[in-house]
């Protein structure tokens, strides 16, 4: 048995950011992760906005960044595109294997104990209350006793569910994703998004990692019945630009594109990041949201630690602050996702044909009315699906 002030399950960006912040506030923290190599296997498109550290200073070593992104290109099924070069579309394509290790090193430097090859098997309970985590570490059973357990488990969220958090993903509210990292893909420094029936209820993406290297991936709706690998292979096969592309790595995963969990804390328990479904419902990105949530959670945890009070009531300050910062934006994004998923190829062709980058910028920032008015004037049939955006 080992004792800590907090045991964190999962060494992705949420877990290690929490650990670094909590350790620098004087808490003794252990981060456990079942993987032997943190950051691997990658289950992610690796794209991230430039403002991901939300104003805080986090200097990434250049090795964490595969490429700098100047903007985004959104394609309709007939091949027309809109180019976006707003501050929100500037960013990076990361090298997640190096990025995740860098964040773990930062946590270690701040004093957190990092333990790979250690798989949580269940919650440790004392008198019915959460009191730590049971695990298997390098083949040996072990107990980590702590008054606070932090789930940074990602989509699996098994401890979170055991703790009563509603983190079970439903097929309707997930995208299932398949992705190849490929060479011989000529790239400009723009992320590319392809809408339409090639990716039922999702999109195909090309995220450049260099001049001729890209993550080429697809997400399809979990309830669409589509086979993401098959859809991706077909998209690549009919794209002349991909003719010489070779697969260097295969990545896959599923991601929440629904609402965040209803409750992110319980007595002696917090869920941060994708474990709490803190993910953008339109693009499925979660790194920046996870890191921001982890910082808020660590601040609240440090106060709870000082007061020796890890009750749900005290910990809920994290959830209140997080929702105040993110909820409105994410609700609008969910609304937008639910409209996008109803558009046909003809709708996409019509919409992308009639709007400009300023319209699109407004749409993505949640200012729906001007664009819906404009589109419906020319294509009245869209009103039926777009009316939800006018509420």
């Amino acid at each position: 048995m080992e004792e800590y002030d907090a045991v964190v399950v999962g060494a992705g960006p949420a877990g290690t950011t929490f650990a670094a912040e909590a350790a620098s506030r004087g808490m003794s923290v252990v981060v456990i992760d079942k993987k032997k190599e943190l950051g691997s296997p990658v289950r992610c498109g690796e794209g991230i906005g430039i403002d991901f550290s939300s104003g805080r200073k986090l200097e990434l070593p250049r090795s964490c960044i595969a490429s700098d992104i100047e903007g985004a290109l959104m394609f309709s099924p007939n091949g027309k595109s809109i180019k976006l070069t707003t501050p929100q579309t500037k960013g990076h394509v990361l090298e997640r294997k190096i990025f995740d290790k860098f964040l773990a090193m930062e946590a270690g430097r701040k004093g957190a104990h990092i333990l790979p090859r250690t798989m949580a098997t269940g919650l440790l309970k004392e008198n019915g209350k959460i009191a730590g985590v049971k695990a298997v570490s390098f083949g040996e059973e072990i107990e980590f006793k702590a008054p606070l357990v932090v789930s940074a488990e990602g989509m699996e969220a098994k401890l979170a569910r055991e703790a009563g958090i509603d983190a079970l993903a439903t097929l309707y509210d997930v995208d299932t994703c398949y992705e190849y990292e490929m060479v011989n893909v000529p790239c400009e420094p723009f992320i590319e998004i392809y809408f339409g029936s090639a990716a039922p209820r999702g999109y195909v993406w090309v995220f450049p990692k260099g001049k001729d290297v890209a993550n080429v991936g697809i997400g399809v709706g979990g309830s669409s019945g589509a086979d993401p690998k098959k859809c991706l292979d077909e998209w690549i096969a009919r794209n002349p630009r991909m003719k010489k592309a070779e697969i260097i790595e295969v990545k896959a995963g599923i991601i929440s594109v629904g609402a965040p969990v209803k409750k992110m804390v319980a007595d002696n328990f917090m869920a941060v990041g994708t474990s709490a479904h803190q993910v953008d419902p339109v693009h499925g990105g979660g790194i920046a949201l996870a890191m921001k949530a982890a910082r808020i959670a660590a601040e609240v945890a440090a106060k709870a630690h000082s007061a020796r009070d890890f009750s749900e009531k005290t910990l809920s300050a994290y959830e209140t602050q997080w929702r105040a910062a993110e909820s409105r934006k994410l609700e609008k994004r969910l609304l937008l996702r639910k409209v996008l998923e109803k558009l046909s190829d003809d709708d996409f062709n019509a919409v992308i044909g009639m709007i400009d980058s300023q319209d699109l910028e407004k749409l993505l920032s949640g200012d729906f009315k001007p664009i819906v008015t404009k589109v419906v004037a020319k294509r009245p049939s869209i009103l039926k699906v777009a009316t939800a955006l006018l509420g």
């Binding site: 993987k35 699996e156 079970l168 097929l171 299932t176 309830s223 690998k229 295969v250 990545k251 995963g253």
Partner: protein
């Protein structure tokens, strides 16, 4: 009986683990482990798997 995992297709993404309503699946880094006592063969994981590596056992009728 329980859901079957084709290890030659599985990419260890744990998508199946995330959607299993019965907490019957576990990813231990390089293998999906199925708890046969918990699996109800509901098929949710089969639909969620991006690699189509999961299948339900064939029912023997009669």
């Amino acid at each position: 009986m329980a859901v079957r995992v084709d290890g030659s297709k599985c990419v260890y993404c744990a998508g199946c683990v995330s959607v299993c309503p019965f907490l019957a699946l576990t990813l231990n880094e390089v293998k999906i482990i199925v708890d046969e006592k918990k699996c109800t063969e509901c098929g949710t994981c089969v639909k969620a798997c991006p690699a189509k590596a999961l299948s339900l056992p064939k029912k023997i009728s009669g």
